[in-house]
């Protein structure tokens, strides 16, 4: 029960900006159904990765992770439906297709909020979960999964609006190249050198991805992929030239990679600084 309330609260906190975004309502009926289903599927895959890394509960079998992720998605959809009903965005006159679209789109973000709320407050016993045998430090793949989750949440807040399209198309290529470099430097600094509580400490490592530069590059590539996926889902890529697609992806990629950085900071918190990070939040 506490878990449920937590998940609903976290979901609402993360999802509120998008519940109050007109573009999300209008995209719900403008988007083809299969694109919404694709987004849901990708969101579920990222949720599974996130829950595997942080988890509603620790010591889970993979099957339990799958179930937890369904729960998070279900809570997201339920909360989205209730909230949209209360905000008057779903009324008796709303068509079923429209209502389902709205609930699904908003539900994605809320489900991530639910998973984060549940996951971040659960990190007391930092035993390795069932999947990462023999790797007690932050598993690079888990970190990248969480990066994808952060990227999706942040980018989803911006993707339905026209601004990334405008920024992408109106900026010249040299300016965008500067944006790429700035994004890489900022995310590298944020995660590895800003010394935030829970930031990942640099350790001499033996695996190729477990290094500040390589992780930053991989997380940026994932952020670009998430941005591209969202732009595609919201129909921004139809008829666009390659240069325009790259420009829009880079513009949205700034938001996505910041989200990816924040996600990794949160994960670092549960791995390295679990004791401190949870001290003030236990109730």
């Amino acid at each position: 029960m506490t878990d449920f309330v937590r998940a609903v609260g976290g979901g609402l906190l993360i999802g509120l900006p998008l519940l109050y975004t007109q573009e999300m309502w209008s995209h719900a009926f403008a988007l083809p159904g299969w694109k919404i289903v694709t987004l849901l599927a990708v969101a579920y895959a990222i949720l599974v990765g996130y829950n595997h890394a942080i988890g509603f509960r620790r010591d889970l079998s993979f099957r339990e992770v799958l179930i937890d992720s369904v729960e998070a998605l279900g809570i997201g959809i339920l909360v989205a439906f209730t909230a949209l009903l209360l905000l008057g965005r779903i009324e008796p006159g709303t068509s079923l297709r429209d209502a389902v679209g709205k609930v699904a789109l908003e539900g994605i973000v809320i489900s991530f909020g639910a998973a984060i709320a549940a996951g971040q407050l659960r990190a007391q016993n930092d035993e390795g979960s069932a999947g990462d045998e023999g790797n007690d430090d932050a598993d690079p793949f888990q970190r990248l999964y969480v990066a994808a989750g952060g990227a999706l949440i942040f980018a989803l807040n911006v993707a339905p609006t026209e601004e990334p399209v405008l920024i992408g198309i109106e900026s010249g290529p040299w300016l965008l190249l500067g944006v790429v470099i700035a994004t890489l430097l900022v995310t590298l600094g944020l995660v590895f050198y800003a010394d935030f509580r829970g930031g990942h400490t640099i350790t001499a490592s033996d695996t190729p991805l477990d290094h500040p530069v390589s992780e930053t590059l991989a997380a940026y590539a994932i952020s670009l992929a998430v941005s591209w996926l969202l732009l595609w889902a919201f129909g921004r890529l139809e008829g666009a030239s390659l240069a325009a697609i790259v420009a829009m992806t880079v513009a949205l990629g700034v938001v996505a990679s910041l989200g990816a950085a924040v996600g990794r900071l949160l994960l670092g918190g549960s791995e390295a600084g679990a004791g401190n990070a949870d001290g003030g939040q236990g109730s």
């Binding site: 990248l144 198309i169 109106e170 040299w174 695996t207 390589s214 670009l224 008829g239 240069a243 880079v250």
Partner: protein, 123 residues
């Protein structure tokens, strides 16, 4: 050991993806910076009649090197002996990109549909 290979693969794919993005930007930056060149192509064979009149789909494309914003287009045709003018706006169009629009007339025009450019904003 197997793990390391997968990690190298992920890292390699990431670097390739970023290099591809950077490559497109650099090529684009080195390319000529000519003006926008909006064009329109009417698809009269796909025209249809609705309760509010006759609708013809069209493709607006930008064959130039620069993006154009707020592109205004005006279509003129003779319908039942009367000159009809319809306008269509495109918010923004990146170079090499195209967008589908539909233009309405009260009924199917007799002769040719003439389209002219009203103007556009530069980024």
């Amino acid at each position: 050991m197997k793990r390391n290979i997968v990690e190298w693969l992920v890292l390699g794919a990431s670097v390739l993806a970023i290099l591809a993005v950077v490559g497109v930007l650099v090529l684009e930056g080195l390319g000529a910076g000519g003006p926008p060149d909006p064009r329109i192509e009417l698809h009269r064979d796909q025209a249809r009649t609705s309760t509010l009149g006759w609708i013809v789909p069209a493709t607006v494309s930008n064959e130039g090197d620069t993006a154009a914003a707020r592109i205004g287009l005006e279509a003129m045709a003779t319908v039942d002996g009367q000159e009809e003018v319809s306008t269509v706006d495109v918010d923004f169009l990146a170079p090499g990109s195209e967008v589908e629009v539909e233009i309405g007339f009260s009924a199917e025009p007799e002769g040719e549909i003439e389209v002219r450019l009203l103007g556009y904003g530069l980024p």
